[in-house]
């Protein structure tokens, strides 16, 4: 597309999308606090930010799935009070979602044309042959992919499914295509095909919004980048004026410092030792040790294997090979019960579903998994249970109306404290904390950090999986960075910075780009 600056018709706007000062809250949490996104026509626009920075919320707003509390939405020079999914589609904005919305038992043709199926002229019947032929033509034209006519979606690889989904969007002749983490599940070669296609679409005049955690992709592919942090756009600049390292710094800078009270703890004996643990497709050749009194941070993107490793240590998944020692003895967990009896505790990310029972009281949640400690001759010793629970509530500073308050009535941070208290009550020793402060207010965050520090001081060991890097650096002794299934780097927390860790976990360590 050639742009002739002065003779441009007045109806065509330079900026195809202008979102300005968008504010959006969910309950007490503010996801967007005045974020702006201005996308120029015919460019590839990168959108980056850490988890919780507000990317998803902003994109869902653009998709018409959320409505902003305040702010201005302007598309093609038209101002809108609210967007609906239907309206957005009419405006020519289409989305390639992270989760592939394709029906597994459909053929490729059926999946492509669902909702606007061609009919055999003069009949109410589907023209399956035409669907197949056009599907084959389109896939071949855009991707050079030949798929058998009868192939079902469930037969396709992840990359092929994504190709089908992109083709589905192209059938709408989109003006704007939004890619949400498109390469998270692709191998390098497949990603390269995707990048070529994205550039070609841009050259054909389609505007692209590209969301990714992989900063080197952003640097290579995008013309322009907007960085979100804590619900605001902290920078929006041409890619030529920045670099992956600079973007990483913008993403993680913090206003609040010194909120991580990690006490100095002398490290004790080896508590957990992992040797050459592998689970093909999840993680490979993982070895590390955790000592008493140590807080070990783990971080990595979705699919990096860190999460799967944590699940393995709690008996939720099985490794294919390798060795796990706890307190010097080899263990093989095939279920969480075995893990808990080896004094392993898991505080899961999704606490509402897996961590606590919302309709039970603080007391019940705290003592449920350790009831045998309060049982005398088969009966529950209520007094000792209550004493124990009250002591824990006081120690963790759980803000609740009492030990009988339902968990549902507590704030996120206090629910999380109860989730941890549950394990304290069991006298667990190896604590696996998965995103312990997600959806937790600042005050409770600090209290949870303090609690993790106390765990270590009492001789337990903690493995903290977090994508909040300043947090992780603040509370841990060491950090292991996972990338595509392997530990790619170990940092001493006192000697690193969030942008260095981020660069490693996004596969673009300084001075060594294009890691595949």
């Amino acid at each position: 597309m050639t742009v002739i600056p002065l003779k441009q018709p007045s109806t065509v706007q330079q900026d195809i999308i202008r979102l300005e000062g968008i504010v959006k809250g969910f309950g007490s949490a503010q996801a967007l606090a005045g974020a702006s996104l201005v996308v120029r026509r015919g460019t590839i626009h990168g959108l980056v930010g850490q988890n919780g920075a507000g990317k998803s919320t902003l994109i869902k707003l653009l998709a018409g799935l959320h409505q902003p509390d305040s702010g201005r939405i302007e598309i093609e020079g038209q101002t809108f009070d609210r967007l609906t999914p239907h309206l957005v589609e009419e405006l020519g904005i289409h989305f390639i979602h992270q989760d592939r919305l394709l029906i597994p038992t459909f053929t490729v043709g059926e999946a492509l044309f669902l909702g606007r199926e061609p009919r055999i002229p003069g009949t109410p019947f589907l023209d399956r042959r035409l669907m197949q032929r056009r599907a084959a033509d389109l896939l071949n034209d855009y991707f050079g992919v030949l798929l058998p006519n009868t192939a079902l979606i469930s037969d396709l690889s992840t990359a092929e499914k994504q190709i089908v989904q992109i083709t589905r969007a192209l059938l709408n002749q989109p003006k704007v295509l939004v890619f949400d983490e498109p390469t998270a599940a692709l191998v390098r070669r497949e990603a390269d095909i995707l990048f070529r296609l994205i550039r070609r679409l841009r050259d054909e005049g389609v505007t692209i919004i590209y969301i990714s955690h992989y900063l080197n992709e952003i640097e290579d592919l995008c013309d322009h980048v907007t960085v979100l942090r804590s619900g605001q756009d902290v920078a929006s600049l041409p890619i030529a004026e920045t670099s992956a390292a600079a973007i990483a710094r913008l993403m993680v800078e913090r206003d609040i410092q010194d909120m991580f009270p990690k006490p100095a703890v002398a490290l004790g004996d080896e508590l957990l030792k992992i040797e050459k643990l592998s689970a093909p497709g999840k993680y490979e050749d993982v070895s590390f040790t955790l000592r008493r009194g140590e807080v070990l941070g783990l971080t990595g993107l979705l699919g990096s294997g860190a999460k799967e490793l944590v699940r393995t240590l709690f008996g939720l998944e099985k490794p294919a090979s390798g060795r796990i020692d706890i307190g010097g003895r080899a263990v093989h967990f095939s279920n969480p019960t075995q893990a808990t009896s080896s004094k392993v505790a898991l505080v899961p990310e999704d606490r509402r579903r897996h961590g606590v029972a919302l309709d039970l009281s603080v007391k019940e949640n705290t003592s449920l998994s350790s009831l045998d400690r309060f049982t005398r001759f088969g009966f529950l010793d209520r007094k000792s249970e209550q004493r124990d629970v009250d002591a824990l509530i006081a120690r963790l500073q759980v803000k609740a109306s009492g030990r009988d308050a339902l968990l549902r009535t507590l704030s996120g941070g206090n629910q999380q404290k109860v989730a941890i208290a549950k394990w304290l009550s069991r006298h667990s020793e190896v604590y696996l904390l998965d995103e312990p402060t997600v959806g937790v207010d600042i005050g409770s965050k600090v209290e949870i950090y303090t609690l993790i520090g106390e765990l270590a001081a009492r001789g337990a060991g903690a493995l903290v999986l977090s994508s909040d890097l300043p947090e992780l650096i603040g509370i841990s002794d060491r950090i292991l960075v996972f990338f595509r299934g392997r530990i790619v780097r170990e940092f001493k927390s006192s000697e690193t910075t969030a942008d260095k860790v981020l660069a490693e976990s996004t596969g673009s360590p300084e001075g060594q780009r294009h890691v595949s």
């Binding site: 969910f26 988890n51 507000g54 919305l101 669902l114 009919r119 995103e435």
Partner: protein, 339 residues
């Protein structure tokens, strides 16, 4: 922030691929296995009971399968649009009771002196109203189909009792006699009705955009929503269509039994078997109308063969139960493997 899902539990993608061939082999084994089992049953019966493969006997089986076949086709439509998860997916337990009430309505009206046209209209209307109640309960009140249609089943069989006083109501009209007759070759007219209805339903469900959309809604509602399909209307329509099938089979049963009889509820198990079993006859292991016809015939031939061999008919129900177990466990295992 909870709105972000990047670190949410997820499958690691490259694993999918390695599972695929195994899943395909199992799927193929199940599919061809079911066809082989079907033919094996036919062969065994035809050897042990010479009369089994005669045109008249096959016609009879078709005719006898007409009522349950039409019901099973109705249930198949609900299975398609509601998803084939037996517990949370689409199911219509009110179908057999629906047939009973529609038959009672037909017979009662003829007793009152109304003609065939009025009686047919009333039966179909009864069926579709029951379907509508199901649709409202499931789609708009959001009750799980298993529970919603169970409740409706009880209401409907209660209404039938009120209407008939738990007695047989005889009915004989020109239309009914025509339906229950046989043609020059001794093949029951009901056999042709079943074939005709199957062709009609197949054309709509397997060959129109509407049918494709029903599958989309049932299998992956999020994908259907993303494709802009009206989910609620499609699902509600499926329940109403199933209700219409109930009304239609009510008419067939009045003609077959020369009146409305009690005990329609006993049809429920065979119909559920038939519809669930149907999916093993499709390439994609999904419920299809033709697959349902095949399984209706399989169930029919089983009963017929047992009769010809003088095997206790009480065993038939046991065999049917066994079939459900096998099919549901096999498809559940397959789906788990693919998930």
């Amino acid at each position: 922030m909870s709105a972000e899902a990047e670190f949410a539990p997820s499958r690691f993608s490259s694993v999918e691929r390695s599972d695929r061939p195994a899943g395909n082999i199992t799927a193929a084994a199940l599919r061809f296995g079911s066809l082989i089992a079907f033919t094996a049953i036919l062969i065994v019966f035809s050897i042990t009971a010479p009369y089994f493969l005669s045109v008249v006997n096959i016609g009879n089986v078709l005719g006898q399968s007409a009522i349950s076949g039409v019901l099973a086709i109705g249930l198949t439509i609900v299975l398609i649009a509601g998803g084939s998860n037996v517990v949370t997916g689409g199911i219509d337990l009110s179908l057999a009771a629906n047939m009973g009430l529609s038959a009672a309505v037909y017979a009662s009206l003829t007793q009152l002196g109304y003609g065939d046209v009025a009686a047919i209209t009333a039966s179909i209307l009864t069926g579709s109203l029951i379907g509508l109640v199901n649709a409202i309960a499931v789609v708009y009140a959001g009750i799980v189909p298993l529970l919603a249609t169970l409740a409706v089943m009880n209401i409907v069989s209660g209404l039938e009792l009120v209407l008939t006083g738990n007695t047989v109501i005889p009915a004989s009209t020109p239309c009914l006699s025509a339906l229950s007759a046989s043609d020059a070759f001794g093949i029951p007219i009901l056999a042709y009705v079943l074939i005709g209805f199957t062709v009609f339903a197949t054309a709509i469900v397997q060959y129109t955009p509407l049918g494709l959309r029903l599958y989309a809604v049932g299998e992956f509602p999020d994908a259907a929503r993303a494709a802009g399909l009206p989910l609620r209307r499609l699902l509600a329509g499926a329940f109403i269509a199933s209700g219409v099938c109930g009304g239609l089979s009510g008419i067939l049963s009045v003609s077959y039994l020369s009146g409305s009889t009690t005990g329609s509820g006993e049809m429920l198990l065979p119909v559920v078997v038939t519809a669930l079993l149907g999916s093993v006859f499709s390439r994609r292991l999904v419920p299809t109308i033709t697959g349902t016809l095949l399984s209706a015939l399989l169930v029919g031939f089983l009963g017929n063969g047992f009769q010809l061999l003088n095997i206790l008919s009480t065993l038939v129900s046991g065999v049917q139960g066994l079939l459900i177990l096998i099919v549901v466990s096999a498809t559940t295992l397959l789906r788990r493997q693919e998930a």
